[in-house]
């Protein structure tokens, strides 16, 4: 039951209309950052206020919401945002990627393939891929206008000059439909290939920076690289220690002060599903169905 003291999904209707218009223009120009009048939300900047506003504008009472933070359904940020929408919108929630119609994510794309009709909402801290190279908004806006993206290639080149490879490992810049260079939010570059030609609609909300952008389904997204240094999605060279998955993105967990560590799937739903299906990693314990 939703909290009747609030309008459906917290925001007032005029605000939702404003956000909805921005989302539609973002969809019409994939990768372009549409300015919008971001509102103060009952959570601090950096907690996903942009994503929350986009989610609030898109939610219907029929939706099933999933919220993840670095792949996990059970961390503070994910739990608080999920509870926020349970309370203000009364929507159903789930941890299963396949059951969700709308997924709000902080810095990961779920391992399970997304499907047509699903919406993935990203929380974005700094939407401008050129911002750390050029601090002036007037200049970066001009660069997008003129398709002047030499600077970002210089940045990748400097990586190679300094480290021998492109060392950028997250928030790896992409080019959308051959036009706009876009920050995919700080997802690991392991996830970059999943941006392209996804059957799901991908929406990006940056609350503090007041920008919304979008990737419609089946949009062509290319990670920037060089002919002699092609883009390589990377992950820790291990299998998950809990479920044994070899193809998922891993978190490194320090287990003691003797150098002990383990690698586990960052996507908790993916890992749990595999454990319940009987897969077992090096440090895994067999799961009893229905019990923890």
């Amino acid at each position: 039951m939703s909290d009747q003291a609030y309008n459906f999904a917290y925001l007032d209707e005029q605000t939702k209309r404003m956000i909805r218009r921005a989302i539609l223009k973002g969809v019409a120009v994939p990768g372009y950052q549409v300015p919008f009048a971001s509102r103060e939300m009952p959570m601090p900047y950096g907690w996903g206020t942009g994503g929350v506003q986009v989610t609030a504008a898109c939610l219907t009472p029929d939706d099933t919401l999933k919220v993840i933070d670095q792949g996990a359904d059970d961390t503070t940020n994910a739990v608080s945002i999920r509870k926020f929408f349970q309370r203000t919108a009364g929507v159903a929630v789930t941890e299963a990627t396949a059951d969700a119609t709308l997924i709000q994510t902080r810095h990961r794309i779920p391992e399970a393939a997304l499907t047509t009709g699903q919406i993935l909402v990203y929380q974005v801290p700094i939407p401008e891929p050129l911002r750390f190279l050029e601090p002036r908004e007037t200049e970066t806006r001009k660069m997008h206008e003129l398709e002047e993206y030499g600077l970002i290639h210089v940045k990748l080149y400097e990586d190679i000059a300094r480290h021998g490879t492109i060392a950028t490992s997250y928030a790896y810049p992409v080019k959308v439909e051959g036009r706009y260079v876009m920050d995919p939010s700080p997802i690991p570059k392991f996830d970059n290939p999943k941006l392209s030609n996804s059957p799901a609609l991908q929406l990006f909300g940056a609350g503090r920076e007041q920008r919304i952008y979008a990737l419609p389904p089946f949009t062509h997204v290319v990670s920037l690289d060089f002919d002699d240094h092609p883009f390589e999605p990377s992950k820790a060279p291990h299998d998950c220690d809990l479920c044994g998955a070899g193809e998922s993105y891993l978190d490194e967990v320090i287990t003691d002060d003797q150098g002990g560590r383990m690698f586990v799937c960052s996507d908790t739903d993916f890992c749990r599903t595999r454990c319940e299906a009987g897969h077992l990693g090096a440090l895994g314990v067999p799961v009893l169905k229905g019990g923890a």
């Binding site: 459906f8 223009k25 969809v27 439909e177 389904p217």
Partner: protein
């Protein structure tokens, strides 16, 4: 009672959320057709066009009414339910009319090179709307989609302006489809 006061949303928050999801779906997947319900606008406005206006327009979005849609009953209904300022073509953020009345399209805002989002959204009332006809390719479309567009040349010229250009919703009765400026259109 004045007819202009009737026919709005009964439960605005919920009805507009469903309407927006349908609008978002058709714009992000050109060629898809959805139905919009919840408003009972005065003739000649279609249900879908009325719902779109209630969902997207308010006092901050200048609206242009073209041709037969610029009549007292429609103006009064929009003024009461949306509060959108009714303006001439150049100032329009939204424009509503049939395809012929909206011509010439060159008069509408297509956005600025540094702010391509400042472009008009056209709501085009159609005599029929079917998922067949012109071939659509581009973002939102896996391979090819089809939509009964009023013409092809205008949308090819619009695509050539990308990232500038107008975006269209097509409405017919309760049905709605859309064509963003990013879509490549070919005649069959």
């Amino acid at each position: 009672m004045n007819d202009a006061l009737l026919g709005g949303f009964v439960d605005a928050a919920v009805q507009s959320s469903h309407a927006f999801r349908a609008a978002l779906t058709v714009l992000s997947q050109p060629g898809e057709i959805r139905e919009l319900h919840g408003a009972v606008p005065p003739a000649p406005l279609s249900v879908a066009a009325g719902v779109l206006l209630l969902t997207l327009c308010d006092g901050t979005t200048p609206l242009h009414l073209a041709g037969a849609y610029d009549c007292a009953s429609v103006r009064d209904w929009i003024t009461f339910h949306c509060g959108a300022p009714l303006v001439s073509v150049e100032a329009a953020v939204f424009a509503l009319g049939d395809w012929v009345a909206l011509q010439p399209l060159g008069q509408f805002a297509i956005g600025l090179p540094d702010y391509p989002d400042r472009a008009v959204t056209l709501i085009v009332e159609m005599p029929a709307l079917e998922a067949k006809g012109a071939v659509l390719r581009g973002p939102g479309i896996a391979d090819a989609a089809y939509l009964s567009l009023p013409e092809v040349a205008a949308f090819q010229a619009n695509r050539a302006l990308f990232p500038l250009g107008f975006d269209c919703f097509f409405t017919c009765g309760a049905k709605v489809a859309a064509l963003p400026r990013s879509t490549h259109v070919e005649a069959v």
